[in-house]
């Protein structure tokens, strides 16, 4: 069920250049089902900025009723969010949307989790859930440059992890697809989240493979009511459009027209 709650900040730190990790505590965590879902955050009580900001759930801890988001302080809203201190409250609406399907891979199988920049966070909780099910994840994480790389160790502790940077300052130089072309991993399913260009590249690279992609679109309501986040679909599907916020943000490969 979707809830709105003023959640308390129990941890907040810069983990890479302009990239922040925020841990929030509250009842809302009980509602979080699948990795890849997101929350819609109101960064201040002022009317400026006005709209909520969609941010993926990076990790969930049911026991402590805490969850983590990882975001880049970029524009007006996220910069304000970055100024919040521990102990302060944040207005959170969520969990929203449908996340990555775990059941689509079977125990024993190997899958690849491919993330780009601020698309990496949701893959962390996803990886943990897959491992719980006895599935082996390989992480391929792409970043612009060394300064903005985050969670490398966290992912390594979960399994095989490859870092790629566009400028080659850390890990392999190039894009996630460059690296995939090298290591040619053997896998059953791919899960990916990142810039649209990356999603396109993934679909083109593995046209016949089972894959799930998480999309980004500008949002209004975040719950499916305003038709702001609509994407056209391919002929592969009967519906002629989908809403990223409520039908997605995760869709099977080939559904969304990109």
């Amino acid at each position: 069920m979707i809830r709105q709650e003023r959640m308390r900040i129990v941890k907040h730190q810069e983990i890479a250049h302009n990239v922040f990790e925020m841990r929030l505590n509250g009842q809302l965590v009980q509602e979080m089902k699948s990795p890849g879902q997101f929350v819609h955050i109101r960064v201040s009580d002022s009317y400026e900025p006005l709209l909520r900001r969609p941010i993926s759930i990076a990790s969930i801890d049911d026991e402590s009723l805490e969850f983590t988001i990882i975001y880049r302080a970029e524009g007006r809203g996220t910069s304000l969010l970055a100024q919040k201190r521990m102990g302060e409250e944040v207005d959170v609406l969520g969990p929203l949307g449908n996340g990555f399907p775990i059941h689509e891979a079977s125990p024993g199988e190997t899958v690849i989790l491919v993330g780009g920049g601020i698309g990496v966070p949701p893959l962390y909780e996803l990886s943990r859930r897959l491992i719980e099910k006895g599935i082996t994840p390989i992480h391929i994480l792409g970043f612009q440059t060394k300064e903005v790389v985050f969670y490398e160790n966290e992912f390594r502790t979960l399994g095989e992890t490859h870092i790629v940077t566009v400028d080659g300052t850390q890990g392999r130089q190039g894009f996630v697809t460059t690296l995939l072309a090298d290591i040619k991993p053997d896998f059953s399913t791919y899960y990916t989240c990142g810039p649209t260009a990356m999603l396109v590249a993934m679909e083109n690279m593995y046209p016949d493979r089972k894959g799930f992609l998480s999309f980004e679109e500008r949002m209004g309501c975040g719950i499916g009511a305003c038709f702001a986040c609509v994407c056209k679909t391919t002929e592969k599907t009967e519906v002629d459009y989908v809403k990223v916020c409520s039908d997605g943000p995760v869709f099977p490969a080939g559904v969304v027209h990109i």
Binding site: L50, E217, R218, I223, A225, F227
Partner: protein
């Protein structure tokens, strides 16, 4: 006696609060958050004759205390709206105001004729003010004669009262209001969005794919309030006011300016519970003002 009840042509409202068209879809999403029957009414998303897929994305952009949208009237079309959306809404004890849009007069007439027959549709809202479609929409809303003509044509076929939704993008909004009143409109809803634009500072190109969009949210409240005040002075049919409403105080202001009921749009995105919250706060606000019934607020500014 219910201190919040308001009677309007075709509408018996439990309270004067309703979500504005396009900001609430057809209710399904918000029904997961609270009981829709608590609402005074629901203004559903614009309905057109045929299915519409709307404009390319991005369709929204944030501005200072406001937002721009260019959804482009996306909706499943008359048939599906009647057979699915309105049918589903029958589960709730809440009057529906059907927002009707189109390109030609015939479109409006056709949609109005059929949708006004739906069991729970108690009134129509003629959207002659949508700034986000190439033809139709706002073109009807900027010329008094054309607006009157369309109103009359729809009145002929509608089985429920007809409210006309005015555009703020005009020199003299009261003139349009008088024209549609003379043409038989049962009420006025106002305001729709102000045409605006946001540019990507780096590229210099519009953020919204459509180029321009409709401005809404707290930023427009002063303009909306002024227009409601002006129109209330010049027409005798009731007004459903909107434009930047986000708090119970905003509701008081719009009713003081002359509105008989108030619609909440953009604020639903900021706080999905804004409508029930305002409804809950209204009684204590009336106490604070020493008023026994919400209707006593209507037109306070003019006295």
């Amino acid at each position: 006696m219910n201190r919040l009840a308001i009677e309007l042509p075709g509408l018996s409202l439990k309270n004067p609060i309703m979500p504005a068209s396009g900001c609430f879809g057809f209710g399904k999403e918000y029904a997961k958050l609270y009981d829709l029957s608590t609402l005074g009414a629901i203004m559903i998303k614009a309905t057109t004759l045929e299915t519409r897929l709307g404009n390319p994305t991005p369709r929204v952009a944030e501005t200072a205390a406001g937002m721009l949208n260019a959804i482009g009237l996306q909706n499943p079309g008359l048939e599906k709206v009647i057979s699915e959306e309105l049918k589903w809404l029958e589960h709730y004890d809440v009057p529906i105001i059907a927002n009707v849009a189109g390109t030609l007069t015939e479109d409006y007439v056709e949609v109005a004729k059929h949708i006004s027959k739906s069991k729970n549709v108690q009134a129509l809202e003629l959207n002659i003010s949508c700034p986000n479609v190439k033809c139709g929409g706002i073109t009807f809303g900027t010329d008094p004669a054309i607006a009157a003509e369309l109103t009359a044509a729809v009145k002929k076929v509608s089985e429920v009262p007809v409210y006309v939704k005015l555009s703020p993008n005009v020199t003299d909004i009261a003139e349009i209001a008088r024209a549609v009143e003379a043409a038989g409109a049962d009420g006025i809803t106002m305001i729709n969005t102000l045409v605006g634009m946001r540019l990507d500072t780096r590229t210099g190109k519009p953020v919204i794919a459509n180029g321009t969009g409709g401005l809404s949210g707290p930023a427009v409240k002063p303009v909306a309030l002024r227009m409601v005040f002006e129109v209330a002075k010049q027409v005798s049919i009731p007004i459903i006011g909107m434009g930047g409403v986000a708090t119970v105080d905003d509701v008081i202001d719009f009713m003081s300016a002359g509105a008989s009921a108030v619609a909440v749009g953009t604020a639903n995105f900021v706080d999905p519970f804004v409508c029930p919250n305002i409804i809950e706060q209204l009684p204590e606000k009336l106490d604070w003002l020493g008023l026994s019934h919400v209707s006593e607020l209507i037109g306070r500014s003019h006295r």
